[in-house]
């Protein structure tokens, strides 16, 4: 194994015997993306980039076992679990996740595995002091960070199992509830993959996204009647995570299930009755006795049924029935007002 003396300099691994400071050059190249490495013993120069020096100056930090379950924790020479795109290690003590808040103007960090989060101004949040909205967001983030393995390009196409980009733009105080058995993949209508209502299922986390970047999950249903969960994914191809937490108004985001109270609501130019909107709420949010009255039908699914559905007469000339696969929508003849929605075979 080749050992280059320059890597044995005390600034790299202070306080260690020289034998332990030496590194395999291939290993260093793999970790630090060295532009050019030549032997100092042969009289040639070893070149590093500025960032390379920054990495090496923090190199001693990895003597801590940061994550006992990660084999990279036992690699003394890997920087931030050998994943510098996801983690940083500014203190030299332990790795941190990299989160970029508020359009990249503020960068804050959270300790891996310690459930620490920050507001958009970079102030650390204490879970016990969070408001209901923030607690919910906190839990959502915890789940995403734990299971988060999603990546989308700017068109909303699923790219890889590497999570790095989402934005929560709004939630309305709903508490997280789990264990709904509803499978949103049922809403996928074959042959319409190019439409923005197509969902992408993550293979392990049980989370779903629309191609428009709306995040869905069968694990996150609002707990009480009228509450809703509105959060959208900010898709993009940047490498660093981009997260907003807390009470943030939607900025260019779209709402999924609008509030079902207060009469009519217009979504994308279509008017929905309260009756229809109640049925469309996520499963378990509106109950009749012990039975969920809400069926979890998205506006985008309704829109597709209105656009592509087979039309049959309703009870009167004022209604028509539009059926697309297992979704049946009752509308006015013009298709501008949705009276009711249901699924055939819930």
């Amino acid at each position: 194994m080749y050992k280059d003396p320059i890597y044995s300099h005390p600034s790299i691994s202070p306080g260690l015997p020289e034998t332990e400071r030496s590194m395999d050059i291939a290993e260093i190249e793999g970790v630090y993306n060295i532009e050019e490495v030549l032997s100092a013993e042969s009289g040639l120069v070893v070149y590093f980039t500025t960032s390379t020096y920054a990495c090496i100056s923090d190199h001693h930090s990895d003597y801590y076992i940061q994550d006992a379950t990660s084999t990279q924790s036992y690699n003394r020479y890997s920087y931030a679990l050998n994943n510098p795109l996801k983690y940083t290690d500014p203190s030299g003590e332990s790795l941190m996740d990299i989160y970029d808040f508020d359009d990249g103007k503020v960068t804050v960090t959270a300790m891996e595995g310690e459930d620490v989060f920050f507001d958009k101004d970079g102030n650390q949040l204490d879970k016990s002091e969070l408001s209901a909205d923030e607690k919910f967001t906190y839990e959502v983030l915890s789940n995403l960070l734990r299971d988060g393995t999603f990546a989308f390009d700017k068109s909303g196409n699923f790219q890889s199992n590497t999570f790095y980009d989402f934005t929560i733009t709004e939630n309305r105080g709903a508490e997280m509830r789990s264990a709904s058995s509803y499978d949103y993949s049922q809403d996928v209508i074959p042959g319409k993959a190019a439409e923005d209502w197509n969902y992408i299922k993550n293979g392990s986390g049980g989370n779903y996204f629309t191609r428009a970047g709306n995040i869905l999950s069968r694990d996150w249903n609002a707990a009480s009647t009228g509450d809703r969960i509105d959060f959208v994914v900010n898709v993009g191809s940047v490498v660093l995570p981009f997260i907003r937490i807390g009470k943030l108004a939607a900025k260019g985001g779209t709402s999924l299930w609008p509030a079902a109270s207060g009469g009519r609501t217009v979504i994308n130019g279509i008017e929905y009755t309260t009756h229809a909107l109640e049925i469309m709420q996520p499963i378990g949010t509106i109950m009749r006795g012990a039975t969920s009255y809400s069926r979890g039908i998205l506006p985008s699914v309704v829109e597709n049924a209105v656009k592509y559905g087979k039309i049959t007469p309703g009870n009167t000339a004022a209604e028509v029935v539009r059926t697309l696969d297992n979704v049946r929508v009752i509308t006015n003849p013009a298709g501008t007002r949705v009276i009711s929605v249901f699924k055939i075979g819930n």
């Binding site: 009755t273 009756h275 229809a276 009749r288 039975t291 009255y293 309703g314 009870n315 004022a318 209604e319 029935v321 049946r328 009752i330 009276i339 009711s340 249901f342 055939i344 075979g345 819930n346």
Partner: protein
């Protein structure tokens, strides 16, 4: 289902509870025959339209025609033996 239809006719159930009780009973049956389920929904759809447009103010006269059709359908299908919980 037939029992709940009878209960509705007797005024023991409000219209919305009746309509969604029917659907709930269908769900509870966990039937796998898609054709049968679609047929069921074809008879239930007019009832649901009335629920959406008139709600609990729907009268027996409004719904009678559709209710009779649903009852005939249910009686023709021996598979539908389920009843709404009392």
């Amino acid at each position: 289902m037939l029992k709940s239809t009878e209960s509705y006719r007797k005024g023991e159930l409000c219209y919305s509870d009746f309509i969604y009780g029917l659907e709930g009973a269908l769900d509870a049956g966990e039937y796998q025959d898609k054709e049968l389920i679609e047929q069921w929904y074809n008879f239930w759809t007019p009832l649901e339209i009335l629920s959406a447009t008139k709600g609990d103010s729907t009268t027996i006269e409004d719904v009678d025609k559709y209710l009779l059709e649903m009852e005939l359908f249910l009686k023709s299908k021996l598979d539908f033996r389920f009843q709404v919980e009392e």
